[in-house]
């Protein structure tokens, strides 16, 4: 296994009003293996989104560094796809135009662009909606479109910031299934941020638990459930045990 993403002593401070400073992330270190699906869970203010934004290149670390393929992250780039909680689809573009956006930016000719877009639109099950505007889609469909758009530029890494956080419980479970299915067909290194303990255990091969004030790594819990994950696994005693362990780490970190 090769190291794909490496957080090395990453800290990030934010200036607050007055002279106060807020330590959003305190000396965060973590290695993510190539092709691994890690989930990051923690209470609000634990710095999980900060860590992800630094890896995405949307935020600069105050100190420390993030390496991707052993090269330091200097800014955003298409090799690191990001999926936002708010979907962030371009509302004036159709589903297909959204998915083609990154390819068009890269200057790919129209015909090839369309083939790739169609492939990923079909993969997330939005074939019939390729010509639709985002306003006509449900929240779940919007996020599937965003996933297709991120995949289309062929990133090596997918960074997902609470992508299913705004969806209802049933849609969320469906999208978790679909995401794992997509991931098994188009294997990428995934860092998935969530505040949902079930989701963290169900999706990840490791659950990274973070704690707040200051935001920091608290515990890494390996999930020894094989992929593909199934609905039965969700109801198994092993799953329940892992969920309890993650839950306790997230909500009562001082008890350990």
């Amino acid at each position: 296994m090769t190291r794909k993403i490496s957080f090395q002593n990453v800290s990030r401070r934010f200036d607050l009003a007055g002279s106060a400073e807020f330590l959003a992330l305190d000396r965060f270190s973590l290695d993510v293996e190539e092709g691994e699906f890690i989930t990051v869970v923690g209470p609000s203010g634990c710095g999980k989104s900060t860590a992800m934004n630094i890896a995405a290149g949307l935020l600069r670390p105050s100190s420390g560094r993030v390496l991707v393929d052993d090269a330091e992250v200097e800014g955003p780039g298409p090799e690191r796809g990001v999926i936002f909680q708010q979907y962030a689809l371009f509302p004036w573009l159709t589903v297909r135009e959204n998915v083609e956006f990154g390819l068009r930016v890269a200057g790919m000719p129209g015909k090839r662009r369309r083939e790739i877009a169609d492939h990923f639109i079909a993969l997330v099950g939005l074939k019939e909606f390729a010509g639709s505007l985002p306003k006509t889609l449900s929240g779940g469909m919007k996020q599937r479109c965003a996933i297709a758009r991120a995949y289309a530029v062929n990133p090596k890494i997918l960074l997902m910031d609470e992508p299913f956080g705004a969806l209802d419980a049933l849609t969320r479970v469906n999208l978790q299934e679909q995401l794992l299915q997509t991931w098994s067909q188009e294997r990428r290194t995934v860092m998935f941020i969530t505040h949902d303990v079930d989701e963290a255990v169900y999706l990840g091969s490791r659950v990274i638990v973070m704690a707040a004030r200051p935001g920091r790594l608290y515990k890494i819990i390996p999930v020894d459930l094989p992929y593909p994950r199934t609905e039965e696994m969700r109801l198994s005693p092993e799953f329940a045990g892992l969920r309890n362990e993650v839950w306790r780490s997230v909500y009562h970190p001082s008890a350990h």
Partner: protein
């Protein structure tokens, strides 16, 4: 006493929804009633104003001898020239202000200052410095259109959703692409609001400018009619101004519908 109070919110939420045809019918009815009332009070001699019949015949006369058309075209020509120039300058300047902090710092004091001066107040200065030809009038209209569109464009650029810009960046887009493919479309709804307000104030400005100094146009016609106590012509001009203003506003709304059809309307 308590019962109707309690019932009030429920009644409010059950406000009857009228179909479009009924709504249009009510509009037409209101216009007919207004015309009827106008005809009644003038026929009874309650006020010393011309009735609908006298205004209609004056309108027909002016339409037949071509004066109405040439006046309307003169006013429209000024408005469209000044308005288009104003919008064409305002949009790039507004983008510049929204995108570059330095440009904003340099331009904003002027925009905020001139916004507080009604464009009409500039007319005396414009006439003294630019003469009595078309230039001062077009300049004043330009100013009216520019000031309302520039602020709207600037607001539009500033309020573009950060997440959309980030989404474009992580897909590999650089500043120029983000500007062209994200900032411009995302601020279109704001710009259209400014354009609509700009057209309204341009129209108001042209008529007033023609009242002060012009040899043609609907405002000029009213000014002339005033000298001869020709009330029907004043009425015809007023109605023409209203109808043309309404038409232009509708055209802008239609444009807006097409350009921002992608918006999620609540």
């Amino acid at each position: 006493m308590t019962l109707p109070m309690d019932a009030a919110p429920a009644a409010a939420s059950r406000r009857p929804w009228l179909p479009a045809a009924t709504m249009l019918g009510l509009n037409v009815l209101a216009v007919l009633l207004g015309l009827g009332a106008w005809g009644f009070v003038t026929a009874e001699g309650v006020v010393g104003l011309p009735g609908p019949g006298a205004v209609l015949s004056a309108g027909l006369t002016l339409a037949r001898n071509g004066q109405l058309l040439s006046d309307a075209l003169a006013s429209l020509g000024r408005v469209l020239t000044g308005f288009l120039l104003g919008v064409l300058v305002a949009i790039p300047v507004g983008f510049l202000m929204g995108w570059y902090k330095v440009a904003r710092g340099l331009i904003e004091p002027y925009v905020q200052f001139f916004r507080t001066i009604p464009p009409l107040a500039v007319i005396p200065l414009a006439i003294v410095t630019m003469g009595i030809g078309e230039t001062p009038k077009i300049f004043v209209i330009f100013l009216a259109a520019f000031l309302s569109s520039v602020v709207a464009t600037f607001q539009g650029v500033v309020s573009v959703d950060r997440t959309l810009i980030n989404a474009a960046r992580v897909l590999g887009a650089k500043d120029a692409t983000i500007f062209r493919r994200v900032v411009i479309p995302a601020s279109t709804p704001f710009i259209m609001v400014g354009v609509r307000i700009g057209l309204g104030s341009s129209w108001a400005t042209v008529v007033a400018a023609e009242l002060i100094a012009a040899q043609s146009g609907l405002g000029f016609r009213m000014q002339q009619a005033q000298l001869y106590y020709d009330l029907p012509t004043i009425f015809v001009s007023l109605i023409a101004i209203g109808v043309l203003g309404l038409l232009m506003d509708r055209i802008i709304i239609a444009f807006d519908r097409v350009l921002t059809a992608w918006q999620e309307k609540a």
